[in-house]
Symmetry: C2
Subunit: 250 residues, 2 copies
Amino acid sequence: MDPLDSRSLQSAHAAVRPAGFDAGSALCQPSDWTALLGMPPLNASELQALQGLVVQHWVPAGSFVFTRQQPATQLYAVLDGSVGLGLARADEPFHLERTVRGPQWLDLASAWLGAEHAQDARAINDARVIGLPLQPLRSLLMRQPALQERLLVALAGTVHSLTSVTHGLMHKDAERRLAAWLLQSCEAVGERQGRVALKERKRDIAAQLAITPETLSRMMRQLNRKGWIEVQGYQVQVLDLPALREFAGD
Amino acid sequence: MDPLDSRSLQSAHAAVRPAGFDAGSALCQPSDWTALLGMPPLNASELQALQGLVVQHWVPAGSFVFTRQQPATQLYAVLDGSVGLGLARADEPFHLERTVRGPQWLDLASAWLGAEHAQDARAINDARVIGLPLQPLRSLLMRQPALQERLLVALAGTVHSLTSVTHGLMHKDAERRLAAWLLQSCEAVGERQGRVALKERKRDIAAQLAITPETLSRMMRQLNRKGWIEVQGYQVQVLDLPALREFAGD
DNA sequence: CGAACCCTTGATACGCTTCAACAAGAGTGG
DNA sequence: CCACTCTTGTTGAAGCGTATCAAGGGTTCG
């Protein structure tokens, strides 16, 4: 057995916890916008206009940012903390499909369609979330097409990412999906090596890979047996990056 | 066994085939733009600007509109015919992931990311395809934010559709995915009944549902045994719409 | 007519889930 | 401090869902 240095994830998550829950205390920073909308920082007028629209919430861990079948009137983004997108059933425990770790867009699409949200969004940690009400945003964007283009690019990024997920689900088995996921969340250490710090419970990672926690555990072990990774609790060392890439495929 | 009235799909497809392959012969109509960009028809200046940019191709069945790892410089749409998005491997036979039947957008996202196309696009029938070169389009959209907003909404639709696909792949078994697919491509006939005319080979439908043709056949039979559908070749009668909806789930 | 497709059906094999049991921390309260 | 519970991850055995392989029938086309 490998010695499991199971530092609780709780402690890691606690770092994010806000001091208080005042709605308007820690406002959106320019750096937040850059993270959401890309590199050329916003100019003064764009920044001011957005700050005028934005609604900020602190969402305590476990409660919902929005729920399915609730009409979408805002664009949502997560600034700090992480929020899970998935399906809450009366049956429970909340079937996670994707986690969004701030700063990142949460749901850019539903509001534009005048539709209901397609998924439930539930805070995993205490999270700082912003919403941009669609109606005033639209008239702003009519005057600021450069800003609109940035949103368009962000939406294109979502499409790209979703396409890659469906591709994986369609053509890759569990082991390959895990390999691909590790590569994607891996920071290189040397030429052939890398390191992954797992930032969620393994069962949540499993849910996003559409496998059970049991299978995730077994697949980790299999990759380990092949000599490609080393697992110690929530730290994964990638020993053979090229082999893993080759195995994960497209 | 049910009598399979297997009228060849070839004949159905042939209806779309163009008379000749002149590049500029049958230009993009205003109705095409409405189909792509939604209901309020374009005004004269928008229409003229777009027509000035658009590049139209006739793509014969079997050849590629674009291929993976080729830099994306245009937005693509299919006007007539149908194009498959998927993965072409040297190993062959082209692994289909999604078919796009005109008029519909084919790839709105890749170009905006300055990335390569994520999938190969291959004409299933002879298809009429248009491309909008990104660079000139961008400067146009800066002057026509209303047009840009329409693109944004179209992109949001793609996200919505992809989200639904991944949800299905993650949480539904083959039979339920088929039920959902039937409902989605079903036209109502009465209160409880409906009709689906299959417009592709069954193996292509199977590929989109991420199952084998053998399984598709079996699942069709199972839904039939439950008394919910009646299959005759490429015509499917839905006998019990509510039951099918209930079964397909979310 | 044979060749090349397509869809179907049956038998078998495999991947992954499910169910059950267990070990290791973390939080709680006596 | 220890006993207790809750949660998480791990491991093994059994079972379901779907793929794979092989065979056969129906159409279309040369």
